[in-house]
Symmetry: D2
Subunit: 106 residues, 4 copies
Amino acid sequence: MNRKTIDRIRKFTSDRDWEQFHTPSNLAKSISIEAGELLECFQWSDTDFDKEHVKEELADVLVYCQNMLDELGLDADEIINEKMDKNEAKYPVEKAKGSAAKYDKL
Amino acid sequence: MNRKTIDRIRKFTSDRDWEQFHTPSNLAKSISIEAGELLECFQWSDTDFDKEHVKEELADVLVYCQNMLDELGLDADEIINEKMDKNEAKYPVEKAKGSAAKYDKL
Amino acid sequence: MNRKTIDRIRKFTSDRDWEQFHTPSNLAKSISIEAGELLECFQWSDTDFDKEHVKEELADVLVYCQNMLDELGLDADEIINEKMDKNEAKYPVEKAKGSAAKYDKL
Amino acid sequence: MNRKTIDRIRKFTSDRDWEQFHTPSNLAKSISIEAGELLECFQWSDTDFDKEHVKEELADVLVYCQNMLDELGLDADEIINEKMDKNEAKYPVEKAKGSAAKYDKL
């Protein structure tokens, strides 16, 4: 997400005085709710889905994620890179290659 | 998310031959699963939460969102801006200001 | 669920003084969290799953549902039959037979 | 849930030839989706919610749980009692009383 998009999301929230609703807990609920709507695109079929609908629901998840980053004063790149350090250690290429097993089953 | 972070996520996936598991449906499930783990940080309290744990779970949601963008050939800024066009129309400032009501109840 | 099972769930809660945590909102979060854990059994495959694990996670969802029924003073059969009245009206057999379409697309 | 309610749910499904859609994976997705809709009742407030709406969404979760029990040939009381055996062992009254901590933090 680039700076202009982030600024647009922040302005959308502040123009509406919605920071008051954006507690971390409410945003965690919102991310789950929107993730459920995204999942609904695939409820009865894994392959026959409406891509335009998927785009909207995925965007909703991302917007609430940005709201949570803002509320907690976090930077997406920073927390993702910290997590990728852990993922790379938990899933070494030689063990994880081609396997969908969880790290504790590798 | 900057280009370097996106490239790191893509390399992590391709190094492990995991594209085969990254169907849109499996990624929608994964986003929901990780959103549930993020929500678990707030299961019994809205205010008493472990910020380090929140950072990890939020990062997991974002990584799977990037995987889905990649799988579907989408760009985060593009789909978010398209959705923000709709959100701004659905929630006009003068009606939505200070209200948590859904657009069809405004 | 029979009376004895319901009583066991209630006694489990009251023995631990956990009613204080069982607000409707916390239980809604808990149902979502456990539904995510159930979904995790099918994260990377629709057909290759651990049935014993599925049983445990489905049981967790059902226990939190019973907690919510108790917290709100509701009866499972009553609310389900009320909802089935609506479902039967929304999905008439002649229109819905063999179709996975949502009622507004039938 | 009593036998008559269970039979009504089964008849609803079979009258519409919907068993074909009720794979365990699709039902796990459905439970998560409905759990998200239930959670939406509490998205912006823990205390100000529409009880009639909650009843409908909770009923939807329970109906899909019954569909999954049916699909997998399981009995609710049996799997719940097996899980309660584990819960009682994981959360001994003397340790868990009045605490919302997870079992591995007790």
